[in-house]
Amino acid sequence: MLYTALEKMYLIRAFEEQAEALYALGKIHGTMHLSIGQEASAVGACLALRPDDYILSTHRGHAHCIAKGADPKLMMAEFLGKAVGYCRGRGGSMHIADVEGGNLGANGIVAGGLPLSTGVGLSLQMQRSVRVCLAFFGDGAANEGAFHEALNLAAIWNLPVVYVCENNQYAMSMPVAKAFPIAQISQRASAYNMPGVTIDGNDLVAVYEATRAAVERAASGLGPSLIEALTYRWRGHSKSDRQLYRSRDEVKEWQQRDPILRLRASLVQAELFSETALDQVKEQTYRGIEAALRFAEAAEGPDPASIMDDVYA
């Protein structure tokens, strides 16, 4: 399981580094939001889910999508706006969804997915399903009204939803210390009488264990939970970010806590894998992303005649 987790984390890192390179080459129409440095929260949380559980993602959603099991080829095709992409080229980076794989979409609106996740939870409860819904959101979303409405509804109805706040320290440029009058976002759970924990979001095992507990609770009908995973985005908010709000030293300090290197170190230390074997994992995933890029670049764009498709069912 940890081996798979490392593989996924490398896949995410490789996808996003490739995305960044494509952007630098001027091959990308639009913007993107990279989660480099945050891979453990996405992978650790999704590791605790079953394949048919649902997630809702955010604008910084590449990691969630890969972690939930999406095919990087179809993601890359969507990123390049191709017809074979997950959303037929209609969504792009900010709206990649893998509905069949249980990912109900990245979302361009901060906290936009939270009321939806409550609805998915209600749907599962009314269908007497044992599945759960996991909603990713950022620290910025916790100050939207939709956050409070969604968590309150899920709590009063005891819905099978796990709310995972990836606190990466900044809502664009607004630091959490200025945006919250509380030390930990998880404290807000007490207002909705649900369990709330703050964990090291760069520690894959910690994220997995906290999510596992919340998923079990949700699946057994005990209701929602709030998990705050402390992490850090290494890159800017989006491609226009000059990062005037933080110091290089701060970024470097967080880069010392690279979630991938930490997992690697623990695997080697426990003598589960050799460094060479893990280097091979890295190499394979990077090669896989190169193949995904070749696939996506060779794919065709959408037929202009199809522009009005799927506005209505």
Binding site: Y54, G85, Y86, C87, R88, G89, R90, G91, H95, A97, V99, E100, L104, G105, N107, G108, I109, G112, L114, P115, L116, S117, T118, G119, V120, G121, L122, S123, L124, M126, Q127, C133, G145, A146, E149, A150, N152, L153, I156, D309, D310, V311, Y312, A313
Partner: protein, 344 residues
């Protein structure tokens, strides 16, 4: 996964007509939809024990229980998003937003999520939900409880907008809206709730996007929506006594809009008047006029196409001012007469 237990009841047509009020017709449609399909459920503020602010869901809690007739806290964004999330994953929710004005609090979920999900995801999801809401003035509820905001939603690709004017239409159109696989904004009018009309028993649907001629005439085409339909029909009676025969057409569904019957009518009458309660500027009437003059009816027009609509003003509290803010029967009579006599 819950399943529909139709279609046995759906194809069944019953001809027994009773007089029902508009509110009874809405309630009957909700009851039949919930009986026919386990996936249909209601949620909204005070829809349960209270029976809905206007009594629409009265008695449904007792029949279907609190899981399917779900009282919610005052969280319009939350409940709208909850309905969308449930619709995306196999349910068919019907949300009540207590006053159309409060839909402003649902806008993000409705416009940026519900309306766009299917398209943004390349057709991989469906969002079969209905958002019912009472609109309109005339109750002395003033500016924050009297809005007619239909034009906003007509402007959003991905949403359907339905605005029924009679008990018969409201029942058949609501059942069609619940069967539809898209988010439908279903706009009821507070003043229509107590109006009566013939309504067949049993399950029947009226297809969305079909405009209907409510009264035939030869001298002028009047396109009216919601409560303005009955006012236009009253005006038609008064005008008939003067020898003026107006044709009254109700689009019923504003989006996607069925313009063909209006075009056909204007080819016959040569004149058109569009009437709605919402403020004139940016109102749906502009779209009706635009589609009319851009098409084949243009060559048949022998008078300017006119609009009669609400003033560009928030709805005032004072009874006389409130009445002045929106068109009434006498206004339609005056405008129609002027158009027919060439005195505009």
């Amino acid at each position: 996964m819950l399943e529909a237990t139709q279609p046995a009841t759906i194809t069944e047509t019953t001809t027994a007509l009773r007089e029902l009020t508009y509110v009874q017709a809405v309630r009957e449609a909700l009851r039949l939809a919930m009986q026919a399909d386990e996936r249909v459920f209601l949620l909204g503020e005070d829809v349960g024990v209270y029976g809905g602010a206007f009594g629409v869901s009265d008695g449904l809690l007792a029949e279907f229980g609190p899981e399917r007739v779900r009282d919610t806290p005052i969280s319009e964004a939350g409940i709208t998003g909850t309905a969308i999330g449930a619709a995306m994953t196999g349910m068919r929710p019907v949300v009540e937003i207590q006053f159309m004005d409060f839909i402003t609090l649902s806008m993000e979920q409705l416009v940026l999520q519900g309306a766009k999900m299917r398209f943004m995801f390349g057709g991989k999801v469906r969002v079969p939900m209905v958002l019912r809401t009472p609109a309109g003035s005339g109750t002395g509820a003033a500016a924050q409880h009297s809005e007619s905001l239909e034009a906003w939603f007509v402007h959003v690709p991905g949403l359907k907008v339905v605005m029924p004017s009679t008990p018969y239409d409201v029942k058949g159109l609501l059942l069609a809206a619940i069967e539809d696989d898209n988010p439908v904004i279903f706009i009821e009018h507070k003043l229509l709730y107590r109006t009566k009309g013939p309504v067949p028993e049993g399950y029947y649907t009226i297809p969305l996007s079909q405009s209907e001629v409510k009264r035939s005439g030869t001298d002028l085409t009047v396109v009216a929506t919601s409560v303005m339909v009955s006012r236009a029909l009253e005006a038609a009676e008064l005008l008939a006594a003067e020898g003026i025969e107006i044709e009254v057409i109700d689009p019923r569904t504003l989006k996607p809009y069925d313009a063909a019957p209006i075009t056909r009518s204007v080819i016959k009458t040569g004149k058109a008047l569009v009437v709605h309660e919402a403020p004139m500027t940016g109102g749906f009437g502009g779209e009706v006029v635009a589609q009319l003059v851009a098409g084949e009816a243009f060559d048949y027009l022998d008078a300017p196409v006119r609009r009669l609509a609400g003033l560009d003003v928030p709805i005032p509290y004072n009874r006389d001012l409130e009445r002045l803010a929106v068109p009434h029967t006498e206004d339609i009579v005056r405008e129609a007469r002027a158009l027919v006599r060439g005195a505009y």
